[in-house]
Symmetry: C2
Subunit: 515 residues, 2 copies
């Protein structure tokens, strides 16, 4: 068996059965092997950023890695931005990259590039396969490395000769690396702190603390102690909506972020990193919490936060609770003019049970999170690394993993344009994705930032930050990529189309004209 | 004056007056300064690959660098593929990248990334500006470094605090680094060789030998000695068409490339690198030339090949020639079915005088080069680094530099999709670009490569290599980005639309249905 076949056999045996691909000539033996080796679903993408962003969305929902298949050098480079987002999220990905045959590379053919150096900038583990006999074991190791510490990027570079040579042997799965266990002394210290705490203490949740066992334990702790549950601005996956513990998010903006933590005395890191503002300006803070706040660590995102929270709940004597009582009514759909608040109300009213919300809403979408706390139960995934262009691909991958759950992509127009090609993959795979384009025809966040630098946009800068002249026509763009679409400029029309879309299998795009 | 203003003053003083931009928050002070400092034209792009590819096209036509303006980390990553192409072409580019403020970066905000490491993979010179007092001199150095050795990428990383602080001083232009001069002994050696040569000797031209003074001298040498003028598959810029010396190109495919050099005894490298095939397979050659051929070096692409060729022509006693006599008639436009040969004939017949052809035609477009040798005088630019997605951006930048020259982009459909966002910049700037999409709705080159690996595509692999189900609708996509477009499936319709397009200011896209 050749290296490519052994690679696919090994991945499938380790549970990696979905591959988001944008192959080139150096990956042809892998592509050919897909026809002979059963068990791997290969999803075509038109650009590498779609493949890597889809692998991110898939990993967040499936709780296991997808593979990518990228072309050597520049192909990998095109996928780095969404790998950066996945790295910041802690998503497991087996990142496969083809390369020149070993003997050809020193001749400096056109596509020779620093593939390993590029991969290392986003990967916890990077290896170039040196020998056809090592393909199986390298692939099995890559899967284990991707799953370690809650999710990481493992990049395996495959020179084409390693794939075409015979003599390869598939490898059985490598045992998972256990996550770091929090010791009893630390659990006791945090328990003593929380036993005396009130709402000025924040349990800042991240990673696995935001859904499933971790979130259930955090909810019990909050009910017993009265501490606030919060999370950072960037969210890998938060289970929320009616019946689930309510977790507030530190807002993106500087002033709202500072305000959200204003009275905090203790900020307990529970699988979350210490908060930091996205950018520093000439004045103002770098971090959102008040000076002098105490910041004890329960667990880093790499450690076993689910176990730590469950032991903490036991230690505090928290009763096992049923569904979380909802603090408010599910809103009614809004009518009239399109505003951020009206949109959030309609989304909360109409979101189907079990939906997956992908949030790259940026400026217009910023109220959607707080406005949907009492919607039907759903998962919320957001941009995590600040590299815009994650929404359409992430929705694509989440839908592949979601197996019929409706994905609703809250999508800023400027950000959508980086990876708009992902719409075609949604059409090809007939994925249940509703894309909501917030069409304000500008980089609204950058207009806001201009004001923060005390500048009123002049002719040159305003032109640079605008998406008009000519305006982008999202309906035609979507149709061009094979996705049905329509434009609306009132909440009534939005409600009607959105309801129809979530009931109709396959993708749909709504261009929502927003102020 | 703040750092951003000093930066722009310095660039403009050094002749860098065009900037292809996709800024983010960390670049806002640069954007604000554009309103205050005159002389810099900032061109908006919707994705970084468009900005870098446009800078490549601009540099090839303008013979001087454009600047880019990219967002930190992942923004740069998105632009690397077309910087790779520019690096392989030897195009001068001043690559500007914003970054986190110095004090903020250690806090690991979401967009913190290995910006310097990423930049180094494509840059001959990389520097992070450390101090507002150094912005001016760093920028002037970057321009000089970009212009050195015939054209390179110089990357200057600008932490945002360096841009917002006051106390910066613009810097005058730094003197250009002279190119390496070829010594007399080498000129004599090559002259002795060529004096006895015939058509089995190939003068392999590259870089500055492919237009202007360099090409004129090469033409004199060929007329006098009978040697063949050839160039590598990848072409930075070749001046060709009626009245110019005819330069043959080594074809892309393995067998045609080997055939093109079959009788060669001497392969003189005149500003060109030694040929190498794009990929190696399990069998077959790695290089196209016959074994045992002698490969003397006249000059590398980094050295002063124009001077070397002129001195060589003098040493050989070549008379100064007028326009090169054309070896054939300009073809007539073809009618009937769409074939590669018919397309080449129509292009040769209808190409306007002074046009710029951008060639990312890949499979269908492969005959267009040889078929247009006797067209009206034009420049030919091709994909140089194998990183597809260069055509639309390169055409955009070439049109900015061309100032009214019609740009004709021969564009494979699969390749076009990586950077389709560039169409919007063509519409915004009302650029005179005619994009010809060769719509075969598949990655045809990869179907061919599959056959080379002795595999008939099965269901999975054929689906991965196809662009149908759903078919991409290029007319709607183009219109969505603000570019007028039409679909044709006969040469008669193509001729009519193409003629109208080259007479009508602004961009136009023709989706040519090809077999």
């Amino acid at each position: 068996m050749n290296g490519a076949a052994a690679l696919i056999h090994t991945l499938v045996a380790a549970g990696v059965d979905t591959c988001f691909a944008n192959p080139g000539t150096s990956e042809m033996h892998f592509v050919a092997a897909l026809d002979r080796v059963p068990g791997m679903v290969a999803v075509p993408t038109l650009a590498e950023g779609v493949a890597t962003g889809a692998a991110d969305g898939y990993g967040r929902i499936a709780q296991k890695p997808a593979a990518t298949l990228l072309h050597c050098g520049p192909g990998l480079a095109n996928g780095l931005a969404n790998l950066h987002n996945a790295k910041k999220a802690g998503t497991p990905i087996v990142n496969l990259i083809g390369d020149q045959a070993h003997g050809h590379r020193p001749l400096d053919p056109p596509l020779a590039a620093e593939t390993e150096n590029l991969a290392r900038t986003v990967s916890a583990w990077t290896r170039t396969c040196l020998d056809v006999h090592a393909v199986g074991s390298d692939a099995a190791t890559a899967v284990a490395m991707a799953k370690a510490q809650g999710g990481r990027i493992a990049s395996l570079i495959l020179p084409s000769d390693v794939c075409w040579q015979d003599g390869a042997v598939p490898s059985p799965a490598v045992a998972e690396v256990p996550r770091g266990r929090i010791d009893d002394a630390r659990i006791d210290r945090i328990a003593s702190l929380l036993a005396l705490a009130d709402a000025r203490t924040v349990l800042l949740l991240g990673g696995e603390a935001l859904h499933g066992r971790g979130l259930a334990a955090a909810g019990r702790i909050a009910q017993k102690t009265g501490v606030r549950l919060m999370t950072n601005t960037s969210i890998r996956k938060l289970a929320r909506g009616r019946g689930r513990p309510e977790v507030q998010r530190i807002p993106y903006g500087v002033e709202p972020a500072v305000q959200s933590l204003a009275d905090t005395t203790h900020l307990v890191l529970a699988g979350a990193r210490r908060p930091v503002l996205a950018f520093a300006g000439p004045s103002g803070p770098a971090r959102p919490e008040p000076e002098g706040v105490s910041i004890p660590l329960l667990a880093t995102p790499e450690q076993d936060i689910e176990d730590a929270l469950e032991r903490l709940a036991e230690r505090l004597g928290c009763p096992v609770s049923g569904p979380w009582p909802s603090a408010g009514d599910r809103p009614s759909a809004a009518t009239g003019a399109v505003t951020p608040q009206a949109f959030a109300a309609s989304l909360a009213a109409l979101l189907p049970d079990g939906a997956i919300v992908v949030d790259e809403g940026v400026t217009f979408g910023r109220d959607a999170f707080s406005g949907t706390a009492h919607a039907a139960p759903h998962d919320w995934l957001s941009l995590t690394g600040g590299a815009i262009g994650s929404g359409i691909p992430m929705a694509t991958g989440a839908a592949m993993a979601g197996q019929g759950r409706r994905v609703v992509n809250l999508q800023a127009d400027g950000s959508a344009l980086y990876t708009v090609q992902g719409l075609w993959t949604q059409a090809r795979a007939r994925l249940d994705v509703t894309t909501l384009i917030f069409s304000n025809r500008r980089y609204a966040i950058l207009f806001n930032e201009m004001q923060r630098v005390h500048a009123v946009p002049g002719a040159q800068s305003a032109a640079l930050l605008s998406l008009d002249a000519p305006a982008l026509d999202w309906v035609r763009i979507a149709q061009g990529f094979g996705v049905e679409a329509a434009r609306v400029d009132s909440m009534a029309d939005f409600n009607r189309l959105f309801e129809r879309s979530v009931r109709t299998p396959g993708p749909f795009l709504i261009e929502l004209m927003v102020p």
